[in-house]
Symmetry: C2
Subunit: 217 residues, 2 copies
Amino acid sequence: MNLAHTDDTQLGVFADFDPKLSDSSRNAEVLFLGNIQPDLQRRVRAQADGSHLAALDSMNLWIDTARDSLVAAIGEVDCLLFNDSEIRMLTEEPNLARAARAVMEMGPSIVVAKRGEYGAVLFTREGFFALPGFLLEDVRDPTGAGDSFAGGFLGYLDMQGTDDPGPKALRRAMAYGTVLASFNVEEFGTERVARLTEDEITERYEALRVMTHFESV
Amino acid sequence: MNLAHTDDTQLGVFADFDPKLSDSSRNAEVLFLGNIQPDLQRRVRAQADGSHLAALDSMNLWIDTARDSLVAAIGEVDCLLFNDSEIRMLTEEPNLARAARAVMEMGPSIVVAKRGEYGAVLFTREGFFALPGFLLEDVRDPTGAGDSFAGGFLGYLDMQGTDDPGPKALRRAMAYGTVLASFNVEEFGTERVARLTEDEITERYEALRVMTHFESV
């Protein structure tokens, strides 16, 4: 379940989609450009001129078929949230740390490499931070784990205020992303996330902290 | 580089190998049964009757060709150190947490799942603990990473005294295993590990702690 592979792609309604944002969407402080054709991402980005923190996800299809547009879109955001294999594919650099540095040279100052059940790594100009995935005995549906991660990550930063989040806030955001993704995969679709409570989120955040904490020498 | 695959196996000298331990080896407090034919592991285990903590590694070849012997060998040790894919293969259980529980039912109270560059997970009857791999910009040779991990992990427990290591010691041992494996892959063979200093180990241990540390809610 840890490998994303594409059997077929039918763009359907997105082929002629021309996004027009409402005023409230234009002025959102945090913008997440989910995976879609990169020219559409750029049109959304251009409209959302009120955002202080813009993030972008994509996939192998656009790296293969619309690389120049994708690189232009990446140059217009602060944060990239990609699968680790796609960061390597985009930069043609097999070493993840070097690949993340190559992405930063394209523009973003925050790069998050998602690794499925193995967790995620955060790269910034100051260094890196890594978390394993939250271990679960029952995983039902990995669909949407990456988007749930982005929701937890960016949602936390939005709550904190988004002008240049510092390392502590980014680390906590990584933990919230991990927690939200872990709930998402426990049931089909959005069932589990739809009925999540803040107490459940806090409890799992602490469980993740305990699960990864070890003491100094 | 993260996937171990076997092109060919020639047992060579091991086909007729009959290990005979010296008195000092028999009385070692910590025993590590590296990957070899499981009947040989059992013969070594039977001789090393002075050990308080016995650990075992193996591989897909023995799961396929000598499963009963391997299960018997696993029943005679306290700790299993396996690749995560081999824990799944041994137990025929795709979920790692459930697979680790199935291993504990065979005997060991400590199960370590090695995940290559993605780190390692510790399972005990009390719960689990997970660490990402130490991120490196230069990885030269993954050969021996698992054995270096075992050396760091068991070496730390040996230094601490080995009668029933508690959760804090086991977590620190996981971190030392991660650190030693990370040095090992930086150069070919044992070159890097052979000239390691204690200060370098301590420094990277702290770097790993910083790399994975985040604060409470």
